[in-house]
């Protein structure tokens, strides 16, 4: 939660922790070094769905407390069914809309607004970090590049994230995706 760059040390054998740490490092590169502006719409959408679901559950709990069971039946039916529908929507949202995207960053280049979306996944018990970087510009064109590299390319043997390696990697993709555009 701090702004100053700190040394991030993780348990390098914990795949999820390593993925989260590298994700964070990439977010920092995109929004910090590359001066893009992070857009929170996607994650806010998920937070809204979660908050709504929890709210529905709390409402059902309160209503059932105020009007004990047989009276509260109708409200309970509505709350329970809408809760499970919300859970379904949330699952669809995370699998089809978010698709593992952990940062969306916007960048203004002249009149053009370019949107960068980074998503990543790690297979269980695997050391390969899969990164997909998608760039969309306001003309509707999109290009993507993917990297599939071992954690060892971003994390040193102590489990510390090497921000420079991440920076180099992302800058490389960033430049190649940006310049490709000019050639066309």
């Amino acid at each position: 939660m701090t702004e100053t760059p700190e040394v991030v040390k993780i348990n390098k054998w914990d795949g999820a922790a390593a993925k989260n740490a590298i994700d964070d490092a990439i977010r920092e590169v995109l929004t910090g070094d590359l001066k893009c502006k992070e857009s929170f719409a996607l994650i806010d959408g998920r937070l809204f769905l979660c908050a709504l679901a929890v709210g529905v559950a709390l409402y059902a709990l309160l209503w059932d407390y105020l009007y004990p069971f047989p009276q509260s039946k109708l409200v309970l039916i509505i709350c329970v069914s809408s809760y499970f529908i919300l859970m379904g929507i949330l699952t669809l949202y995370t699998t089809f809309k978010e698709k593992g995207i952990f940062v969306v960053a916007k960048e203004k280049v002249g009149n053009n607004t370019r949107v960068w979306e980074a998503s990543s996944y790690v297979k269980k018990h695997d050391d390969k970090y899969n990164l997909v970087l998608v760039m969309r510009d306001s003309n509707g064109k999109s290009r993507e590049a993917s990297v599939n590299k071992s954690f060892a390319n971003f994390i040193d043997s102590n489990g510390t994230i090497v921000q420079n390696l991440v920076l180099n990697e992302i800058t490389k993709i960033y430049n190649s995706l940006s310049t490709e555009k000019k050639e066309k």
Partner: protein
């Protein structure tokens, strides 16, 4: 050790932290909504109960898990096992219907007794109450799972243990990302 436990949390930004709290909330609310859903489906305010005493042996033992239904259209019959509440008692009782009087207008009054008790339940009812009516019934036993309820019994007997387990689970969920 404890320091590294909270590292994940410290590194989270505002939204990640909110999501962490919300996903913990969703685990709790999912359990709650399943319970409330069962209430609606079975019509009973407490669709699953644990047998706490040996008064229904050999039918049910301490620690058996009972599944209840409470459909208003199904009449109560002698010989059925009902779970009922008594005014001034927090914990419902699981006993068998011994005598039943049914009026033509549909009202019923009935007396219960534990299979393993030597006398009927009049002594257990509220002061001056001689019969149970439909509004006292929580549900009727429809099925049971032996021994599973022992976990809840132990948890209730050792509240500290229960809170320790719950606290550990809560911390684990809150601290671990994904």
């Amino acid at each position: 050790m404890l320091d590294s436990l909270f590292d994940d949390v410290k590194r989270m930004n505002k939204r990640q932290f909110i999501y962490q709290v919300l996903s913990f909330g969703m685990i709790v609310s999912s359990a709650l909504m399943i319970w409330k859903g069962l209430m609606v489906v079975t019509g009973s305010e407490s669709p699953i109960v644990v047998v706490l005493s040996g008064s229904m042996e050999p039918a049910f033992h301490r620690g058996d898990l009972l599944f209840l239904t409470n459909y208003p259209e199904e009449p109560v019959r002698v010989g059925e096992i009902v779970v009922f509440k008594v005014e001034g008692r927090d914990i419902p009782i699981v006993h068998r219907v011994l005598k039943l009087h049914e009026k033509s207008n549909g009202t019923v009054k009935f007396l219960t007794k534990g299979d393993n008790n030597s006398v009927d339940d009049r002594g257990l009812y509220a002061q001056g109450q001689l019969w149970l009516t439909k509004k006292d019934v929580v549900g009727r036993a429809r099925g049971f799972l032996p021994y599973v309820g022992m976990v809840t019994i132990y948890m209730n007997e050792y509240p500290k243990f229960k809170f320790a387990v719950l606290a550990c689970l809560a911390i684990y969920v809150l601290v671990h990302r994904e």
